[in-house]
Symmetry: D2
C-alpha cells in the first residue's frame, strides 16, 4: 500500500439541501403508520417535502416509506424528532427506520482496477456537483490510475492483490475503510471479495456488472453476447452479497447492438451503459432512495 500521496485538495462537497432530512421506514404493514409518522413530523413543525410509500401487499405485507422533510434549524431539532419517531415506530409499530441529515453527504470508497471509465465518470460527476457523496478514497489493485485520481484531489491507495490468498490485501482494505466510509463502490474492480470481508466491512457495497443480469453471469459477458447474437447488451448495478452476481439489483439498462459489432465494439457500447447505470445507482443510494428487502430492492427514483 502506498501511503504517500499527493497532498490532495479536499474535493468541494456538493451543497446538499440544507435543513432537510430523509427518513426511511420499513417493516410489517399496519393501519396507521403514515398517520403516526406525519403526526410526529407535524408536532415538530417539520414540512414534508416528498413522500414515497410502497406496500407489497395491503393485507399484512411489507411496508416501505421514504419521507424527506424540512425543518429550520434541523441539526438542533433532530434528536428530539428522532426520539419521538423511535417511540412511535419501534414501540408502537415494531418498524425499522433510519433518519439522516441530508446536508451531510455519505462517505464512499471507490474500488477500481485498470479500467477507469466507471471510476472517472463518478469523479467527474462529483466534481460537477451532480453526485451528493464525499469521495473519501480510491483503492486499486493496480497503480495505473493514481495520477488521474489524485488530479481530482482524491486520495489513491494502491493495494496489490496477487495470488489466491486475498487475506493480506483484505486486511489492508478493512484498515482503510474502518470508520471512514458509509458505503463502497466497485467500479469495475476485478477481484472477488470474500464473504468474510463483506461481513467485516459492515457497509453496503455496490457493484457494476457488465451484463444484463441474470443473462450473462460470470466472466466474458460481451464475448458470450456476441456468440449468442443478442440484439441488446446491458449492465446491472447491484448490492454485493456472498453469492457472486446474485445480490439485490438496484438498476439496469441496455443498448441496442447488431451483428456488425465486434466484441470490442460491444464492450465500448456496454461501457457507456455501465457508467450510466452505476452513476444512477450511486445517486439513488446516496440519497437513501433504495431499500433492500430480501433479495430485491424498492427504489424511489
Amino acid at each position: 500500500m502506498s501511503l504517500t500521496q499527493h497532498a490532495p485538495a479536499l474535493p468541494a462537497e456538493v451543497p446538499a439541501a440544507a435543513d432537510q432530512a430523509v427518513l426511511i421506514v420499513h417493516g410489517k404493514d399496519r393501519t396507521g403508520i403514515v398517520a403516526a409518522i406525519s403526526a410526529v413530523l407535524g408536532k415538530h413543525d417539520a414540512n414534508i417535502v416528498s413522500l414515497d410509500q410502497h406496500s407489497d401487499n395491503p393485507h399484512g405485507g411489507a411496508f416501505f416509506q421514504r419521507t424527506v422533510f424540512s425543518k429550520p434549524g434541523l441539526k438542533a431539532a433532530l434528536p428530539a424528532i428522532e426520539e419521538d419517531l423511535r417511540e412511535q415506530l419501534e414501540a408502537g409499530f415494531d418498524l425499522e427506520y433510519t433518519l439522516r441529515d441530508l446536508s451531510v453527504p455519505k462517505r464512499v470508497a471507490i474500488f477500481a482496477s485498470k479500467d477507469g471509465h466507471c471510476l472517472l465518470d463518478l469523479l467527474w460527476r462529483h466534481r460537477r456537483g451532480d453526485l451528493p457523496i464525499n469521495v473519501a478514497m480510491v483503492v486499486s489493485n493496480h497503480p495505473d490510475l493514481a495520477d488521474e485520481v489524485r488530479s481530482f484531489g482524491v486520495p489513491f491507495f494502491h493495494v496489490p492483490s496477487q495470488g489466491p490468498d486475498k487475506s493480506a490485501a483484505e486486511a489492508q482494505h478493512l484498515r482503510l475503510l474502518a470508520g471512514n466510509v458509509d458505503f463502497v463502490i466497485l467500479a469495475r474492480y476485478m477481484q472477488i471479495l470474500s464473504g468474510d470481508f463483506i461481513e467485516r466491512a459492515g457497509v453496503p457495497i455496490i457493484n457494476i456488472h457488465h451484463s444484463f443480469l441474470p443473462a450473462f453471469i460470470g466472466a466474458g459477458p460481451y464475448a458470450k453476447a456476441k456468440q449468442r447474437g443478442v440484439k441488446l447488451v446491458g449492465a446491472t448495478a447491484h448490492y454485493v452479497t456472498e453469492d457472486l452476481d446474485e445480490g439485490p439489483i438496484i438498476e439496469q439498462d441496455v443498448v441496442r447492438v447488431n451483428h456488425a459489432h465486434t466484441v470490442a465494439e460491444l464492450q465500448r457500447h456496454g461501457a457507456d451503459v455501465e457508467r450510466a447505470v452505476l452513476s444512477r445507482a450511486v445517486h439513488w443510494h446516496a440519497e437513501d432512495r433504495v431499500i433492500r428487502h430480501g433479495n430485491h430492492t424498492i427504489v424511489f427514483p
Copy 2:
C-alpha cells in the same frame, strides 16, 4: 346519426380493486396536510395502499397527493369518510379534493374517424381486462369502423360532420355524452372541436397527437419530420384545450427512424407509438394518476 345498432352485449367490466378508493388532493402546500389526511383515514380504520405526494416548492408552492386506501365495506363507509375529509381539507386547509370508489370504472366515449389503430388498440386492451374503463360508446364522423366496433359489444354512433359549420354535429355529440361519460378520448379523430363544445361537454378530453409536441404542431407531422431529417418520431397524449395542440401533456414517447424510411414508413412506426402512448395516458387517467395543474400535469404512474 345512425341510431340503429347491433344490440351490443355489454362489455365485461374490468374487475377493479374491490373496497379500494382513490383520493386526490391538491392546493397550496402547508405543514400538516399529510398528517391530517392520514389521521382521517386512520380514524376510519382505512389502510393506505399507496401514497404519492409532490410539492413543486416546499416553501409555499403547490401540493399534490394521490392516496389509495382500502376499507372493508367501502361503499357504506365512503360518505362518512368524505364528510371528515371535507371538514379537514376544505375547512382546515382550503384544498381541493376528489374521492372515488375504484371498483366503479370511469365511463368513456371514444371519438375516431377512419383510421382505427388507436381505437382498436383501446378496445382490445379493454376486452383483455387491461384497461379499467367502461366504454360507453364510439362516435365517428365516418361509418367505416361500425362493424368492427360493434363486434366488441360497444355501441357505435355515426355523426357526420361536413363543411365548416360543426354546430349541428356538436349538438348531437353533446346529447350523446350528456350524463353518460366521465371523459372522452380522441383516438385519431380528425375534426377540430370548438371551444364551446369543450366547455359544454364538461368532462376531460384526451387527444393523441401524432408527433412529439411541441416539435411538429399542426397537420402533416410525418412529412415535416421526413423533410427535416429527424432521427426520432414520436407521439403526445394531452388534454384538449381551446388552444389546439397546446393542452397539458400527459405522456410522450418516440421511436428511432432513419433516412431510409419513407413518409409511409414513418407513419407506420409512428402509429405504434401513438397507440402505446394513448393507452398509457388513458390508463393513468382512468386510475386518477394524472393531476392537471396550470398547463402541465403531475403524473404518478
Copy 3:
C-alpha cells in the same frame, strides 16, 4: 381437427413492390463478389434499389449480401437473371443464394393457444396492409380464438393436443402445412415441438419467447423476474431449433418496470413488448432481411 369453417373471404394481399426482387447471397468472403453480382444485374438492366453487405472478417470470413433490384417486366426476366447468377455465384464463387420476386408475399401459418395478443396484433397489422405476408391459416390447440380469427377472413384449424404424445397432433399439423406455407409463426403457442416435427415441416419457424433471452429460459419468466427484482422485462423472437429457447435470435426488446409492478402487471407490460418484437421479426423475415448463420443472425433492418 375442425374442418368446417366460416367460408373465409381471402385476406387482401399487401400490394408488394411490383417488379422488384430480393437476392440473398452468403458464403466464404472473397474478392470480387460484389462486382460479380452487380455485373450480372447490370447486364440485365436491373437497377439496384438497396444493397446491404456484411463480412464478419475481411480476411477469409463469411460474406452476406442482401440486394433488392427493380427490373420492368421482372417475372419474364427472372429465369434468365437467375441462370446468370447461378453460373457466377455457384460456379465462380461457391456461394449460396436465394432469389425471390418481392411481389409474391410469403405464405405463413400462425400457431397460437388461448392468449391472442400476439396473434391478433399480426392479423391486425396484416389487415392494415403493414405486413407483407399471406396468412394461410391459424392453427390452435384450443378453440377459443376461432371466431376472432375467422372475422379476419383467415381459416382457423383446431388441433387438440393433450397428453405427452404429440405425434397425432403433429401429423395433422404436417398435413395442414404441406405445400401451403413458407414459414410458421408460434404466436404464444404453448406446446413444445418435437425435433422430428421441426425437421419434417421443412420451413423456418419463428417463436416469441416472453423474456429477454438468455435471462429467463423456461416457464414462468415474469414470476422469476419479479422474484429477482429486475428493472427491465423483455421479449425475444428467435428461430426454433431442437434446443428449446436456444435458436438464433432475430430481435429483442425490453421495457422498464419497477418494484411496484405485480407479476400480472409485468405480464401486461411484457405482452406489449412481445407483440412489438414478434411483428418486427416477422416483417424482417417476410422481406428476407434475416440471414441465419450458425446460431446467430445477420439482420438488415
Copy 4:
C-alpha cells in the same frame, strides 16, 4: 489569445484500420453504378469490407454509397485506384466522390465555453482509443478549462469574445484553423458564428443543441421544457449552417423525465444525452458515415 501552452504531449492516435480506405459516392441514381465501383475495386484486387447503399427513389432519385475496402499496401496503391474511380464515376456517371485512407484520423478543433461536460467526454473517449480523431486544439472564449484540457496533452487557446463585434475573435479563429483541421466541433460553445466565418472556415462544423430539435429552438430549452411539461428531454447534433439551429440533423436522442424534475435536474439529465449524442455524431462523421444531402443527412451507422 494565449499562445503559451503547456508543451503538450501529442495525444496517442487511435490505431485505425491499416490498409483500409473509405469511398463515398453520391449523385443521381443510374443503373450500373455499384457494378462500376466494384469493378474498379476488383481490378485493383481491393476487397470490399463493408458496403452501404441508399437510393431515395429508384426511379431517378439520388444515390448514396459508402464503401470500405482493404488493400495490402494501400498508400502506394491509392493514386491509381483514385484515377480509375475518377474516370468511371465523374466521366461515366457524373457522380461526386471522396476517397480517404482510414488510417489517417481526421484532425479536429473543439470549441467550448465554460461548461466542459461535452468537451471532456470527447477527450476521455479519445484517450481511451474510442474516437478515431486527432484533436488538434481546443478553443474557448473563457480560460476556465485550460488546465483540464492541457492535462490531456491537447493545446488550449483562449480567444476572448466580448461585445457584439465578433470579427476580431473570428479572425483569430480562422488563423488557428487554417490548414490544421478537417472539421470543427462546437461542444456547448455559447457564441453564435457568423455566416462569413462558417464560409471561410471551409470545413464541416458540428454543433450539439441542448434540445430535441425542432421542438425547442433557441435559448433556455430546459426552462421551456419544464414550463410545457414535456415527458422527454433530448439533444440534437447537427451541421452548422447560417440558419441557427436549422442545419442538417446527424443524431438525436431523448431521456424520460417527469414533473418532479427541477430545471436544474432536467439540465443534468439533458447533459448526459448531449454528450452521448455528440460523441455518436462525431464518431460517425470521423468515419465518413454521414452524407449531407440538402438539409438532411444519410447516416450509415
